[in-house]
């Protein structure tokens, strides 16, 4: 049947969105779906010695859940997961808490130096994690640290920023410094989106700014808090560049201090791709479960379909 012009244009109209989405779909497939599938495949594969004695060959084969069992029973990997969780428990509440505080303060009527403070607090967002770790590393390092210098002048003794548990606070402080401004901007912007009429009645009734913040503003910016919380969780569990950068400055940080350092070592130093893949899958699943729990907990108030 010959295609009529109307039919052809309908076909073209149906193809148009797919054509626009094609680059994204191709890249998404190549750099997300296939690597995920490949990682899962690798996580079930391992090397076994086939044949006996000196003639044994290393043969890659299906090993079932062996790699997962190895990963989950590896004290170093499990300890790394524990370290990341401990770090997250310190870092995430401080980043989000301070971001919310600064956002609420910026939104307070008649506050001074609003623009300056906003820009200054946002600025560290532009500093890469490695550079931020270098900056703070030198501020922690006894020989260059102005804090240690002052402590010496006051005869307060040496300050150890890399010990236990101070190291967790030192690392969390880097996350706080890097992340507070970005999260503050997101929360502040959703505060600005609240129509002022919402507070007017409360102000007329004599509510204080503190009460307005606590009772009205915070509940209304909850979706932004969930979003920032979600990104913080995803970012926290992928902790890598900060401890890797600080490692030469501190003896407390081992080569496998966090899960990603362990994964890197297994993959590229020990040539254990199956083990590295299993450890990655465990980490990714952990992040996914935590993210979904967080979203479920807040009743899918974010990421709703706006269509």
């Amino acid at each position: 049947m010959p295609a009529t012009p109307a039919r052809r244009s309908r076909l073209r109209a149906a193809a148009t969105p797919w054509l626009f989405a094609t680059p994204a779909i191709v890249l998404f497939t190549l750099f997300l779906i296939i690597p995920i599938g490949y990682a899962i495949y690798l996580s079930f594969r391992g090397f076994r010695i086939e044949g006996g004695g000196a003639f044994g060959r290393r043969v890659q084969s299906f090993v079932g859940l062996d790699n997962y069992l190895t990963a989950l029973t590896d004290p170093e990997y499990v300890a790394g997961l524990g370290r990341v969780l401990l770090y997250g428990l310190v870092a995430i509440p401080s980043v989000l808490g301070l971001a919310l505080l600064f956002a609420l303060l910026l939104d307070t009527p008649r506050v001074r130096a609003r623009g300056f403070a906003r820009t200054a607090i946002f600025l560290p967002y532009a500093v890469p994690g490695v550079i931020a770790s270098l900056l703070w590393g030198f501020l922690y390092l006894p020989s260059t640290s102005p804090i240690s210098y002052l402590a010496r002048q006051l005869h307060a003794g040496p300050l150890d920023f890399f010990g236990f548990p101070t190291l967790y606070f030192s690392l969390a402080n880097i996350a706080l410094w890097s992340g507070v401004g970005f999260n503050m901007i997101i929360i502040f912007t959703s505060l600005r989106a609240i129509p002022t009429s919402v507070y007017e009645a409360a102000r007329i009734d004599g509510a204080s700014e503190l009460q307005i913040a606590w009772r009205i503003k915070i509940p209304l910016v909850a979706p932004a808090l969930v979003l920032t919380g979600l990104f913080s969780v995803i970012g926290t569990l992928q902790l890598y560049s900060e401890p890797a950068t600080l490692r030469p400055m501190s003896t407390t940080i081992s080569f496998t201090w966090v899960p990603l350092m362990k994964i890197y070592q297994e993959a590229f130093m020990n040539d254990n791709l199956g083990g590295a893949a299993a450890a990655s899958v465990v980490l990714a699943l952990g992040i996914l479960v935590l993210s979904l729990l967080l979203l479920r907990f807040f009743q899918r108030r974010t990421f709703g379909d706006d269509a």
Partner: protein
């Protein structure tokens, strides 16, 4: 008093005339906390290696020009090469990423087609996938096709940005009136023409935000180049400084080079953020999320 403050005053009728002093003080403390390390590194970069460990940290030194020359001279100007590499990865990567995201976001927001919801859900799920966990399988796959260790290995994986697609969809839905697109179609304009001449210009603010996010994201990315690259000449600046420090543990001369390098690499990003800040649409991040 600035114009911004005045609009706030008229918009919010004052309940009391008192200025919130404590709020201002806390904000200024926050600003100080965020600026102090940057100030420290700029000051420390002016110190000669000997001064670095002997003088008070916030006192400027006398070695700025020497340090800068030493940094530039290190490994036949390798540092500047790293800077150019970073610019290439982040600049080109972010431009391509923004374009791909804009096309996909526009398709998802402005066309009704079968599979639209499924496609969007898959891309949203991609936001939750920790990108860094993908780096090892991405390396193996790129190595299999002979691309590992090349510029492509760092550039290609960062072009796809699920969060950017999500933002572009939100922004396309909010900023492109159906009537404008319909009018252009009735005039016989082709779909590509409509996208280039109407859609992109109308979405420009949102696109700047997506570009900026991705630019900073790529510039800050460490693990991907760390895994992909072995040739130091292809390193971005973050990886270069990292290897610097690894070599320089216990070597005071390299410490001052690392500090100088940190100072130099912070400056262009700070300038970029300050310049692009006025185009920055944070409401796109915050406002688009109410379902």
């Amino acid at each position: 008093m600035s114009a911004g403050d005045r609009t706030v005053l008229t918009r919010r009728r004052p309940g009391t005339a008192r200025r919130p002093r404590l709020a201002t003080v806390v904000l200024l403390l926050g600003a100080l906390y965020c600026l102090a390390p940057v100030a420290w590194v700029v000051i420390a970069s002016s110190k000669s290696p000997r001064e670095l460990f002997t003088t008070f940290s916030f006192a400027p030194g006398s070695g700025f020009a020497d340090n800068l020359a030493a940094l530039g001279g290190y490994g036949d100007g390798q540092f500047w090469r790293w800077g150019l590499n970073s610019l290439l990865y982040a600049g080109l990567g972010a431009i391509l990423s923004t374009l791909v995201s804009a096309m996909a976001g526009y398709a998802l927001a402005k066309f009704r087609f079968r599979g639209r919801q499924a496609l969007f859900s898959v891309i949203l799920a991609g936001v939750l996938v920790p990108g860094i966990v993908l780096a090892v399988p991405q390396y193996l796959l790129l190595a299999a096709v002979g691309l590992a260790g090349t510029y492509w290995s760092v550039l290609l994986p960062v072009i796809i940005n699920p969060f950017g697609i999500f933002l572009c969809r939100v922004f396309a839905a909010a900023s492109l009136p159906e009537s404008t697109l319909e009018a252009a179609r009735l005039d016989g304009a082709g779909e590509v023409h409509i996208f280039v001449r109407i859609v992109l210009p109308m979405m420009v603010q949102g696109l700047v935000t997506v570009f900026l996010l991705q630019f900073v994201g790529i510039w800050n990315n460490f693990l991907l180049p760390f895994i992909m690259l072995s040739d130091q000449d292809k390193y971005p600046i973050t990886l270069g400084l990292y290897t610097f420090l690894g070599k320089g543990a216990g070597d005071g001369d390299l410490y001052s080079l690392v500090i100088m390098g940190s100072a130099v690499s912070v400056v262009p990003l700070v300038v970029l953020v300050l310049v692009l800040q006025r185009f920055w649409r944070a409401d796109l991040l915050a406002g688009g999320l109410k379902g």
